[in-house]
């Protein structure tokens, strides 16, 4: 199984997408997800690391779209990840990402994760456009970051929002 085929997607759909500015994606947490059961026996929760990954996917697509998916956008640094409470099955969590800075080298993002009116986490991330930063290192020509799994999410959002209008 290649990386292109592996399902590694931790957001379900975008509910807001303002190019170069902000995006919000939601994730419905289901008891049927295997990984919820791995951390504590009989106490299923979403691992914090996967909440960071959900934010990275929401923000990464926002950063990628800002340059028409021409850059290979890599999560370079988690500047801050503060968790206020656990997330349990049956909840819908929302990842809101805002671009704070964006230039040819990369982007910095401020994000919040909420469940209803509760603040679940605050996460700051930094992304690198790797072809611009790691001079001398060679990466595959094709954009291995933005596989169809990710671009389809944005396509779906655009189709759904145009239908509503």
């Amino acid at each position: 199984m290649t990386n292109d085929k592996m399902r590694w997607i931790w957001i379900d759909k975008f509910t807001e997408f303002t190019p170069k500015t902000s995006a919000t994606a939601i994730k419905n947490v289901s008891l049927a997800e295997e990984h919820l059961h791995d951390l504590y026996p009989a106490f299923p929760i979403v691992p914090h690391s996967l909440i960071v990954e959900g934010m990275a996917q929401t923000a990464g697509i926002l950063v990628g779209e800002a340059r028409n998916f021409e850059e290979k956008v890599i999560l370079a640094k988690v500047g801050r990840a503060t968790f206020h409470r656990l997330v349990r099955p049956g909840e819908t969590i929302a990842y809101s990402a805002k671009i704070e800075q964006l230039n040819e080298s990369g982007a910095s993002i401020a994000g919040t994760v909420t469940s209803g009116s509760d603040l679940v986490a605050e996460i700051s991330l930094m992304f690198s456009h790797i072809d611009q930063n790691l001079a001398g290192l060679e990466f595959p020509e094709h954009n291995f970051v933005f596989t169809e799994q990710f671009t389809e999410l944005l396509k779906t959002y655009r189709i759904e929002s145009s239908v509503k209008i």
Binding site: A76, K77, G79, E100, Q101, N103, E104, S105, G106, S108, M126, S128, Q132, N133, L134, A135, G136
Partner: protein, 130 residues
């Protein structure tokens, strides 16, 4: 309102503490950002973003630390920066102190040009022209 050199230094120190997870006491004016504070390549983008935010400025690519001198065959011979290369670096890094580097101007030693003091000088210059 102008900002004093001490205030710039304090903000730069806070940026480096946040970006690199070092102790305040480690951030001395002479500290070399890579060698003494442990910055890796990706940290420089982070530092640049944080400085932009802290001082409300824009930092162009390669402005604080030129990226293409070390890979230019006109400026590098046998792992050492040539006199022409040093002249080019001095032109592009007026904020850096070259006294240590010039004694042994290897490509490896280029990192020694990027000290905490160099960042403070750079920001001071940038704010003056803003």
């Amino acid at each position: 309102m102008t900002i004093s050199r001490e205030e710039i230094y304090d903000k730069v120190r806070a940026v480096l503490v946040d970006a690199l997870g070092v102790d305040e006491g480690d951030v001395t004016p002479q500290a070399v950002v890579r060698d003494d504070l442990g910055a890796e390549s990706i940290d420089f983008l982070d530092i640049s973003f944080r400085l932009e935010k802290a001082f409300g400025i824009k930092i162009g690519k390669g402005e604080m630390m030129p990226e293409n001198v070390a890979t230019d065959p006109n400026f590098v011979q046998n792992g050492k920066i040539t006199p022409a290369g040093i002249a080019e670096l001095k032109k592009r890094m007026p904020h850096s102190d070259f006294s240590v580097f010039e004694k042994d101007p290897t490509v490896e030693n280029m990192s020694k040009l990027f000290t905490v003091d160099a960042i403070v000088n750079y920001i001071e210059g940038k704010l003056k022209t803003a």
